[in-house]
């Protein structure tokens, strides 16, 4: 009989740091640490450095109790969960990370996309606790998404499940997206998109601010600055229409908003909810919730660890 799982490790590989957490199966964190992401030589040292850091940070008696590790990766994971198909920020292509980790650490590993990990983390220990069907949205430099249906991540047939930042938006503008496309949702509904919209608005009005950042835009709008209010209204409209389109497609019970822009709290969430109610299908109206994410930067390590528990529960 397989020994009961007592402790698990969650890892979140980011472009600048790799975060680690040792926790029990209830998500109680015993130890949390991080190391810088070594992206030199096409990120070839990353797998070894993850293993070394785990070996040196956790004592031997505890290590033997750990059966598995979940790893969130900023990129696409193959359908079988074995390979990182591509992770642009790490300069990775076709890296058999699962095999590398299990081989070196002698424990089972589980890979998933970082946005999907964050979605799973919010479901397990965060804002969506108790839900099984949800859409997690990060509004940061870009726009990311993770979809959970019946308690499981929707990874998709080409690891593009939840890539909602790249939903095409109809617009007279011609904003270039990092993916090579034009007018993707993230060129409007991210922090960068918001700042660009504000700058364009000010140029149009012949005005100028010494600095344009999302917090300043929200602050000015709260002070009744007409230009800031108009830009935010348009920002929320674009986002609400896109999210309503997703709701009318996958019909989940909850939307969780994370990422830097979610720090605006009610200033963002209240008007967003109002517009969402307008655009969702009648059957959904007044029957879903919209919440701010709870776990911040820790969502990924929680979700990565939980993905291993889920895998074992199958």
């Amino acid at each position: 009989m397989e020994k009961q799982i007592k402790k698990i490790i969650g890892v979140d590989i980011g472009g600048t740091t790799i975060k680690f957490a040792l926790m029990d199966t209830q998500g109680k964190i015993e130890k949390k640490w991080s190391i810088p992401t070594n992206i030199s030589e096409k990120g070839k040292f990353i797998p070894n450095e993850i293993c070394s850091s785990i070996r040196s940070s956790i004592n031997k008696d505890t290590l033997v109790e750990i059966k598995g590790i979940g790893i969130g990766v900023p990129g696409a994971i193959s359908s079988d969960g074995e390979i990182v198909v591509q992770a642009v920020n790490l300069d990775w292509e076709q890296i058999p990370l699962k095999k590398m980790i299990t081989h070196k650490l002698g424990m089972d590993a589980c890979l998933l996309n970082d946005a999907n990990a964050a979605a799973l983390g919010e479901m397990w220990r965060g804002a969506a606790h108790g839900r099984e069907n949800l859409l997690f949205v990060t509004l940061g430099t870009g726009v990311g998404g993770g979809i959970i249906l019946n308690g499981r991540v929707l990874n998709g047939c080409h690891s593009a499940g939840g890539e909602i930042g790249h939903i095409p938006i109809r617009s007279d503008e011609n904003r270039l997206c990092g993916c090579g496309g034009r007018n993707c949702l993230e060129t409007f509904a991210s922090a960068n998109g918001l700042v660009l919209s504000m700058r364009k608005k000010l140029e149009l009005l012949g005005g100028s601010w010494t600095e344009i950042t999302p917090p300043i835009i929200f602050e000015k709008a709260a002070q009744n600055d007409e230009a800031a209010k108009e830009v935010l209204n348009e920002f929320v409209t674009v986002l609400a229409q896109a999210l309503a389109g997703i709701m009318n497609t996958i019909d989940v019970e909850e939307i969780i908003i994370g990422g830097g822009l979610s720090e605006a709290g009610a200033y963002l969430l209240d008007p967003l909810k109002e517009k969402l109610e307008k655009y969702v299908f009648p059957q959904i109206r007044n029957h879903f919730s919209l919440k701010k994410a709870l776990l911040g930067n820790d969502a990924g390590i929680y979700g990565a660890a939980y993905s291993y528990l889920l895998k074992k529960a199958v």
Copy 2:
């Protein structure tokens, strides 16, 4: 031990006719028939008439071999599959159809939304045979959708899964949708939407045609009529952007196009595929297929019957 299932019945309740098929578990149809839909007195006679029609159309020896029946309904089905929450065309609300049918016929029943049934039918015996992840789109009077993930229908938390006809479209126009919303996808990408766009275009140009129908618009465009070409180009663009948004969200391997407009064949599908490739996320590009539906009006009876087999296979 439960007796092996030998024969099943698929039923597709439409606004004007109810279609029936008796088939084996491979989908070979032994008998197919239909009756008019009796929508008098809030459709209260429909459940009885379905049962009577089955009893009178199938001989007794065969009836005992039938263990179950699948029924496609033009409306929303509760998550537990027991109740028709609402079906506007039948004037139904909160009808416990499953219990009514099982009670009267003495066989197990399975309910599902009609667009979901058609999606399942195309997967089982139609254009998507062999696939397990697909988006089925009907372009008819309205725009309907059905999503299959891992071989199962995505019904959603409020029976609104796949209601893609109601994705909000950004537009300077203000088209009223049957759902009460404005500028839903189906106000542009349906037969009615296409005709309206053509009429508006002709008004703008000061021209007029004696008759405007989708086949006439496709024919004129093939004859190089500039106005018809422009309207079709815009029609395909709106549809491609919406479908690409869905693909970037759920990332399935195949899109099946059914409904009256799909009769345009390559005149619709070729430009649609071209634009889709432009708007989908790079990982998906060149890795999905777009096909015309194969089963026409029979998709629903196949899918309804198959939903019963799926339920039994759980």
